[in-house]
């Protein structure tokens, strides 16, 4: 047997680098990424946490003072006692519920239909996935054109007359919900398809021998087997919907008539009026809320896996 055949890749590397340990080499490769991660992610996270307890505007350094002034939990108290902020929390919650429920039902429904055997199934799947592959800003601008009350396709195709879907505060939340569902239903559909494909066929065969109904098979085999992956889709979609920004920015813009969504408000506070510290506090409240929701869902996910 040749001598080299006994050498593992690690041993070969050690030899190549004249004694530099694998661990050190590993550290060397990780270091640039780690430095970037700390500089771009960790430092801003800690710095913005500090800023959220201060009164500070990045833009007004020569007017309001160069150094952030410590005000304790003042920003958080202001945010949580502001009725307009609660309106934004409620609107965002409505948005999350409507989009995620819509996407889960439609996505899973489409996946069930795509499970059936028929011609052109592959082509249909590809076409259905297309919206998801587009940039959210482009999707927003495209739907803005669809919704235009004067010449948009949306009203024309549905025979609705000149309804203003963009600027009417009673409707514009729904206009974004529709666009979001259109764009992200394929995501749920794809995950569901993967889940459905992994369900062992013998379970259905056994159920058929027992003359189980379609409903029985669906509720006792399909749903329990697919539920972990559905839970995963649910987690992804809730997180995404909660911090939605690009779609509403494209459809309604960030003006006063836009639906009061949290991420849009965060942008206006931080980069239009430059209340940096107040914006940081809103950001942290959003982060805590997303983490809390995710933790609960991950718990359910683990339970579903078992």
């Amino acid at each position: 047997m040749a001598k080299n055949a006994h050498e593992t890749p690690g041993v070969m590397l050690e030899k190549h680098y004249h004694g530099m340990k694998d661990k050190n080499l590993m550290r060397l490769f990780i270091l640039p990424t780690l430095v970037l991660l700390i500089a771009i992610n960790v430092f801003p996270l800690i710095w913005s946490l500090f800023l959220s307890f201060t009164d500070y505007s990045a833009k007004m350094v020569n007017v309001w003072g160069k150094n952030p002034a410590w005000i304790g939990s003042g920003n958080f108290a202001d945010i949580l006692s502001d009725p307009e902020m609660w309106e934004k929390f409620i609107t965002t919650a409505k948005y999350v519920i409507m989009t995620v429920v819509g996407e889960m039902i439609l996505g899973f429904g489409l996946a069930l239909l795509l499970q059936l055997e028929y011609r052109g199934r592959g082509l249909i799947t590809t076409l259905l996935v297309l919206p998801m592959t587009m940039s959210p800003v482009i999707v927003g601008l495209m739907w803005k054109l669809f919704y235009d009350p004067n010449w948009g396709m949306f009203n024309f195709l549905l025979g609705l007359g000149r309804i203003d879907w963009i600027q009417d505060p009673a409707r514009n939340l729904y206009s974004i919900v529709i666009a979001d569902i259109w764009m992200w239903t394929p995501f749920v559909m794809l995950l569901s398809l993967a889940g459905l494909g992994a369900v062992p066929k013998y379970l259905y065969e056994a159920a058929e021998i027992d003359r189980a109904s379609w409903w029985f098979k669906f509720t006792r085999i399909t749903l329990p087997m697919v539920s972990p992956i559905l839970m995963l889709a649910l987690i992804f979609r809730i997180i995404e919907a909660f911090k939605i920004f690009d779609l509403p920015m494209g459809i309604t813009g960030r003006g006063a008539m836009a639906p009061p969504l949290l991420a849009m408000h965060l942008y206006n506070v931080s980069f239009v009026t430059w209340k940096t510290s107040y914006g940081s506090a809103i950001g942290y409240i959003m982060l805590i809320m997303v983490l809390a929701i995710t933790l609960v869902l991950v718990k359910y996910l683990n339970r579903a896996k078992q």
Binding site: K59, N62, V63, P149, R162, G255, A256, F271
Partner: protein, 452 residues
């Protein structure tokens, strides 16, 4: 020991490599011959920025210094250059920034103080005093300058001459309103004309005006309505707001805005310059308000089928709450400032020196730029150059601007929110909207220390 030395050597080599790549660009710039030198100007994405790029070819021909005019869409223009300035970036050597942002840029030290240079070059004598005050001076009346007036602009109007001069329309209008249809001689007359033409059942509407409140469009229309009816945004020198912003004249102005807004096409709650021009060129409105800088598209047959039937007029006068007649137009436009963090300030100053020359200003006007050079502005050549240049000249005599203090954007956001809720959303009354705004503005000025 040997191993750890090797590790450290490898680490140092890694960082050296990164540093070499990072600084490679800078070294290359420094070593460039003079004819390859360049400056970068940042401006909003619109036709005047293209004109400036074309104009600057002359500067390149004279000096060999290349000029790059970098354009950012209007929606994010102000945010982008503010973010860069906060980071003390040298990405641009000159910024053609919004007039209302001059206070923020001056106070925070982002723009170079040009006071001595402006006096030395006589810019304070060759450019119109009003343009210098609004585009370059901070604080107003303080005789300290941070820019050179680049693009003068103001809100003005385009109208369909064929519809206004149609005998049937003229007869019907006179029968209904008791006076002749024509170019509006007052804001009241403008509302009558809008009402007369408004026919939504047949897809025709009375007027195209701004409704978007994402940046400053709604505020710019609202402020001129406030001023002509005798109201004020506040006292620019004492920062007093209560009793001025929510005065009788201001309330009348905002109520007028809401009434006029009812004659716009559906979906005008987000209308800015594009939508206003689009409605006009689509032939669904008889008149449209826009910044003069957007009028070239209306005078061009390729972009406006009604170009030959399009006329222009400046914002008309109006009798206010006290019976006094006033005439105002909201200022647009920008001044060109040298960035404090630029490493090519000498080249930027060279460009400014070239830009303020009379010949350059005449060429600027020929290309479609709105010059603020007094002699060029008053020349017959300028007035005859486009059908809307006479309107520009009138507008330059009646313009007035928003707050220019560093807090202008917070004021803008608050104002836009409350006024849009009333004008576009129909919530509450004008008095309530202005009262809420006055209260909030007072708190903002108080926090900034203007009352100390």
């Amino acid at each position: 020991m040997k191993k750890s030395i090797r590790f450290v050597v490898a680490l140092v080599m890694c960082f050296t490599l990164v540093a070499v790549f990072a600084f490679a660009g800078g070294k290359e710039d420094a070593g460039k011959p003079a004819e390859e030198q360049f400056i970068t100007i940042h401006w909003a994405q619109w036709a005047p920025a293209d004109f400036l790029q074309k104009l600057s070819d002359g500067f390149t021909a004279d000096t060999g210094i290349k000029v790059i005019v970098e354009q950012t869409p209007w929606e994010t223009f102000v945010q982008k250059y503010n973010t860069e300035m906060i980071a003390r970036s040298d990405a641009w050597d000159i910024i053609v920034g919004d007039s209302q942002d001059i206070g923020n840029m001056a106070v925070n030290g982002h723009y170079v103080d040009l006071t001595d240079w402006i006096k030395e070059k006589g810019v304070d004598k060759t450019f119109t005093p009003a343009s210098l005050m609004n585009f370059a001076e901070y604080p107003k009346g303080g005789k300290k300058y941070y820019a050179v007036p680049c693009e003068g602009d103001a809100l003005a109007w385009a109208y369909r001459k064929d519809l206004f001069e149609d005998p049937m329309n003229m007869e019907a209008f006179k029968r209904e309103y008791g006076y002749d249809l024509g170019i509006p001689e007052s804001w009241d007359m403008m509302k009558d004309i809008a009402e007369f033409f408004h026919d939504p059942d047949n897809g025709f509407y009375g007027i195209a005006i701004y409704g978007d409140n994402g940046y400053d469009s709604l505020a710019m229309f609202a402020e001129q309505a406030i001023w002509v009816f005798g109201g004020e945004l506040g006292d620019y020198s004492t920062y007093q707001v209560e009793g001025l912003l929510n005065s009788e004249g201001s309330v009348m102005g905002i109520e007028y805005y809401q009434e006029l807004f009812k004659f716009t096409p559906p979906g005008f709650g987000d209308a800015f310059y594009v939508k206003s021009n689009d409605a006009f060129t689509a032939g669904i409105v008889p008149m449209a308000c826009n910044y003069l800088a957007f009028f070239p598209a209306l005078a061009n047959e390729a972009t406006n089928p009604y170009a030959n039937d399009t006329g222009y007029f400046a914002c008309p006068p109006q009798k206010g709450y006290d019976g006094k007649t006033r005439q105002f137009a909201s200022l647009g436009g920008q001044g060109a400032s040298v960035v404090t963090y630029s490493k090519k300030q000498d080249l930027a100053m060279q460009w400014l020196d070239w830009f303020i020359q009379k010949d350059t200003q005449m060429e600027w006007a020929r290309l479609g730029g709105y010059t603020c050079h007094a002699e060029v502005l008053n020349s017959q050549e300028f007035l005859n150059a486009t059908p809307f240049n006479p309107t520009f000249k009138v507008s330059m005599e009646i313009f007035k601007d928003w707050w220019a203090c560093p807090e202008y954007d917070i004021l803008l956001r608050t104002f836009s929110q409350y006024i849009a809720d009333y004008v576009v959303g129909g919530e509450g009354t004008a008095q309530q909207a202005l009262d809420k705004c006055a209260k909030e503005w007072t708190a903002i000025f108080d926090k900034a220390g203007y009352y100390d």
